[in-house]
């Protein structure tokens, strides 16, 4: 028996019962597939972004009543020394965090670049802090730095540093927050750099060796230039993290509450306090609007520079 004797599986051509062309059906499917996420992002991310830009022009009371307030919130902001201090703290935090993350991420990546069992273990260990919540991280470091009796304070006491209250001293608190942020985030940036390093074809290094390059010159003339897309991504993302407070908020909330003497009060934290401690939603909105505007600008620039999120040479 051959196949042609069996009935056709598809039966008669179903042209008659077809209502929509298949291209139309593809379009409908496309819209339906995108709909849930598009709607959700619109309502829970897009709308808040727009609200953040507009909220600053209103006075909002605790029960959801709004009153147009013109530029009052922005005028208040201009005259508020705590706002300026928070802005300064944010810039200081970013200025310390971004280079620290770049150096530690790249350094760790270079340290564990070669693939072997030992480096596999090291990679996992360096990444491990990412698994722990920032609340727990903050608690651990708070405990470690308890004045005089915390493990770190004790370990440092032979150097005469045992008496320092790292989180209680305005001169030290920001360093402590940056240090813990780096400890938490470095594993992620190590991975990004590892990805970048492994994308560099080994032949370049071999060619450079034959051309007489030592380890330092191949790092300088091959690794760094070819790592440029990765570096760009890392600098951008860590900058945004620093400003938008991806990690900092939880740490500050638990470790310092913005103190001591407002030395660790980043803008995001100051805005949060204004809204949820003092019920100044409008004022908080004014502060947030500045952050949203900055972030939108950064995103736009990134999008243009990378032609839609493509970070490699083309």
């Amino acid at each position: 028996m051959t196949l042609q004797q069996t009935d056709t599986a598809a039966g008669p051509r179903p042209a008659a019962r077809r209502r929509l062309s298949f291209r139309t059906r593809e379009k409908i499917a496309g819209y339906l597939f995108v709909l849930p996420d598009a709607l959700g992002l619109l309502v829970f991310v897009g709308l808040p972004m727009l609200l953040a830009l507009g909220l600053g022009f209103f006075e909002v009371d605790g029960f959801g009543g709004y009153r147009f307030a013109g530029l009052a919130n922005y005028r208040r902001m201009w005259a508020d020394p705590l706002f300026w201090q928070s802005l300064g703290a944010t810039l200081l935090y970013a200025a310390m965090l971004v280079p620290s993350l770049y150096v530690s991420g790249l350094g760790l990546a270079l340290l564990v670049e070669r693939t072997n069992a030992w480096n596999g273990v090291l990679r996992a260990i360096f990444f491990l802090p990412q698994m722990v919540s920032l609340v727990v991280v903050a608690l651990i470091w708070k405990m470690l730095t308890v004045e005089k009796i915390g493990a770190i304070s004790r370990a440092l006491s032979p150097l005469g540093l045992g008496g320092i209250s790292f989180l209680g001293n305005p001169d030290w608190a920001m360093f402590a927050v940056v240090f813990v942020s780096v400890w938490f985030l470095m594993g992620f940036y190590m991975l990004i750099f590892l990805g970048g390093l492994q994308d560099i074809p080994k032949e370049y290094y071999e060619a450079a060796r034959i051309d007489g390059a030592g380890p330092l010159s191949s790092f300088w003339f091959i690794t760094l230039p070819l790592l440029r897309p990765t570096s760009f991504f890392v600098l951008l993302v860590s900058l945004v993290t620093a400003v938008a407070g991806g990690a900092a908020f939880d740490l500050i909330y638990v470790m310092t509450k913005g103190g001591p003497a407002n030395s660790t009060s980043l803008l995001i934290f100051y805005a949060y306090q204004q809204a949820f401690q003092y019920n100044s939603f409008g004022y908080a909105g004014a502060i947030a609007s500045i952050l949203v505007a900055v972030l939108l600008l950064v995103t736009l620039v990134m999008f243009l520079l990378t032609r839609g999120g493509r970070f490699q040479y083309e």
Partner: protein, 282 residues
Amino acid sequence: MSERVPKYRYTAGQVTIVRAIWVLIGAVLALMTLFPLLWMVSISFKTQAEMFDMGLVPANPTLDNFRYVFTQVDFVRYLLNTFFVAATVTLVALLFHSMAGYALARLRFPGREAIFLTMFSTFLVSLPVIIVPLFILVRSLGMLNSFSGLIIPSIFNAFGIFLLRQFYLSVPRELEEAALIDGAGHFRIYWSVILPISRPILSALAILFFLANWNAFLWPLTVTRDPELRLVQVAIAGFQGQYTAAWNYIMAASTVVALPMLVLFLIFQRQIMDSLKTSGLK
């Protein structure tokens, strides 16, 4: 001999020394990274009296701290709440993001690029920045102090869509075309062909999403007051306010909260690290 060796070559002895130094640096850094976590676990087994002793191994290990956490506080409820929220967010997010990512990568419809661009523009906006307006919005939707308020706003993020779209762009188009010819519609192709072949990336994303929601603090802190709805991160942060110096209890609670994620990491570390390594870069 040695003068014939080119400048960029090193003797076996030099190589060994460099290797040894390299290993040493790695070991020291790893120990420094690990130390705070070990200390957390150590303290959670210590009594109040020896809490600030310098020994890493407790002299008189005790389970009292854990007993306290589970009996004096409603910690089990917080754990269950958190599990429920994190698992729900993860499942729904995977479904929605894979649908959107697939459509944005492969289905042809007018406005697709504009939609993708708009979604992409929310890429860098983080929760702390929009927390105030988001809170007002959720409040006006009547979702304060509810599971829906905890869950629904946490589902949507451009990162997952972006990553999945990148993945679907790399799936050979012929696979869908073969299914099209085999008689499948677009929903069928998504369900029977696309979803099954995305299993590796979906499982990696599932871990990341679950992790992020298990560890989430700011949103649950802001959107709920009701102790019945409390999630673990909020609970232990509150704990610390309550028992300021009782680090043994706080660390026992922290250990309980951190442990599931650390175990998850031990099991899935390859998938987690691989999926992050290429995130957004390709």
